[in-house]
């Protein structure tokens, strides 16, 4: 028996060593970027490469913020992301509730179409959607990126439906006897219970919107409207000989998503894995 415990312990140490090695490889690009972002001008091109060698130039980060419209891009990204989150939370919870709690005629077929839309390649959709927004004169606005978020997206509808299906119907019947209407039942009783799933959805929506580069690229033409990802591509050329500033800009763009994930992590893994198993 002792032997078994011992072998289990060496096994665990072995696992930790492997995981640490892997983690170093995974974190290397980030560490490298942070190291370079703190260097003085010119040092980024030195061989052998310098790793976290003082003096540290924290003012590189301040320089990036002062350069051009960087702050503006960040503010634009925040705005677009917040609108997308509001739209997604509102629409997907309503739609998911409808599919989960009402067995109306054609609901099965309608839900099946939702699953089908998940399989349509976005390569096909981007061209006609662009033409559509062109025809209503909404190019170079945030409408193409935000409006559709208020009408539900297939995967999130699916998640919300799963979530509401897991909640007992008895609450509904009870509330009805008390004279509540369906809207009230939804907002007062079921929606508060879905908070963990809503947190997951807010996080994934934020990630999707913050990291989105294709849509800003095709829809936005005025530089003052650029989101952070597009703005980064735009200012890339200015930093051709100041890699340390480019790295600082990249780190700044990464921070918000990492921070938000850190706080929402508990819900996030839960939501993802529960959907993955059933999906």
């Amino acid at each position: 028996m002792n032997k078994r415990i011992e072998s289990k312990r060496t096994g665990k140490i072995f696992v930790v060593i492997l995981l640490s090695l892997g983690a170093i490889i995974m974190m290397l690009p980030f560490l490298w970027a942070i190291s370079v972002s703190l260097q003085g001008p010119g040092l980024a091109y030195v061989t052998p490469p310098q790793f976290f060698k003082p003096p540290y130039h924290f003012d590189n980060y301040i320089k990036v913020f002062k350069e051009g419209n960087f702050l503006r891009y960040a503010a634009n990204s925040v705005f677009v992301s917040v609108v997308c989150i509001v739209g997604q939370l509102f629409s997907n919870s309503l739609i998911g509730f409808g599919f989960a709690k009402y067995n109306f005629k054609g609901s099965q077929l309608l839900f099946f179409t939702a699953l089908c839309t998940m399989m349509i390649p976005h390569n096909i959709m981007s061209v006609p959607q662009y033409i559509m927004w062109h025809n209503v004169g909404a190019l170079d606005t945030y409408l193409p990126m935000t409006v559709k978020m208020f009408f539900g997206t297939a995967f999130n509808v699916f998640l919300m439906r799963q979530c509401f299906m897991g909640m007992p119907n008895a609450f509904y019947e009870a509330a009805l006897l008390d004279g509540a209407n369906p809207i009230k039942i939804f907002f007062r009783i079921y929606l508060p219970m879905a908070k963990p799933m809503l947190a997951t959805m807010a996080t994934t929506t934020f990630m999707g919107s913050w990291n989105n580069v294709f849509e800003p690229l095709i829809y936005l033409t005025s530089e003052s409207k650029y989101t952070l990802s597009l703005g980064l591509l735009y200012i890339k050329g200015n930093y051709e000989h100041n890699i340390e500033l480019l790295m600082a800009a990249a780190i700044i763009a990464m921070i918000p998503v990492v921070v938000i994930y850190f706080f929402a992590q508990k819900y996030f893994v839960e939501g993802l894995s529960s959907s993955a198993v059933k999906g």
Partner: protein, 290 residues
Amino acid sequence: MTKKHKNWGWVFVSPYIIGFLVFSLYPIVFSGYISFTDYDIFNPPQWVGFKNYITALNMADLWMGFRNVFTYVLILETLQISIGCILAVLLNHAIKGISAFRVMYFMPVLTPIVAVSFVWTYMYNPMYGVLNYLFKFIGLGPFKFTFSGLWVEVVASIAVMSAWKGVGYTTIYLLAGLQNISTDVNEAARIDGAGAVRKFFNITLPLLSPMIFFLLMKGVIDAMQVFDAFYVMQQATGANTTVIGTLIYNNAFEYSKFGLASAIGWISFIVIAILTLIQKRAEKRWVYYE
């Protein structure tokens, strides 16, 4: 639910119905239509029959695009699934601080591709990049990575970056799959005297195969449409590293050939559909359902 309220279902799902008609059904039908027309957005579409499809199939770039994208998918999925499986098994241990490891492996998934591409392009730089410097210690290289004139080297370098960025995502799903495997099976194997490696190949992998299958199907569909990674990582080196995503982007949004771009989109859709069907046919050969 209550019979009286049945029709409230329509009220709740009405945003979805509007969204489906406006943002899914109409664009698909319209895309099918304009793929048979000459359309530059400013003049009305001119019906041209199959001309766009014939033009597309005669484009060298289309075939180069498929060559590049197939290579990309092959490298990316091999790396992601194999490393993902190993990581999931390792992360499934009850060890103190395991959640810190999970966060670290998931970090690349979260970060914006544009920011990530700056870092990787700098690391890949053949002159002063850190990767060649590190590779020298283990006797590899020097490589030119994305700066190479060889298409394979460029595509492989981009695939490696994508694998780094996406493996955390694959791992989370595989971890969820692992946690669904009942402990009885593992216990039985242990009593029978199976070692860790044998257990992995004879028990864990077969029981995980449905999840691997799901990830492979989804991964191939997504990777076939890759745009971002190539758009932000490509250097002007003379190597043809077109992919279908950039080909559609260029034809539609650079040259205003919306009909041709749509035709290319539908051709790639057919290829993706065939690949998916092949995978589905092969499913019963290797996927194990309890």
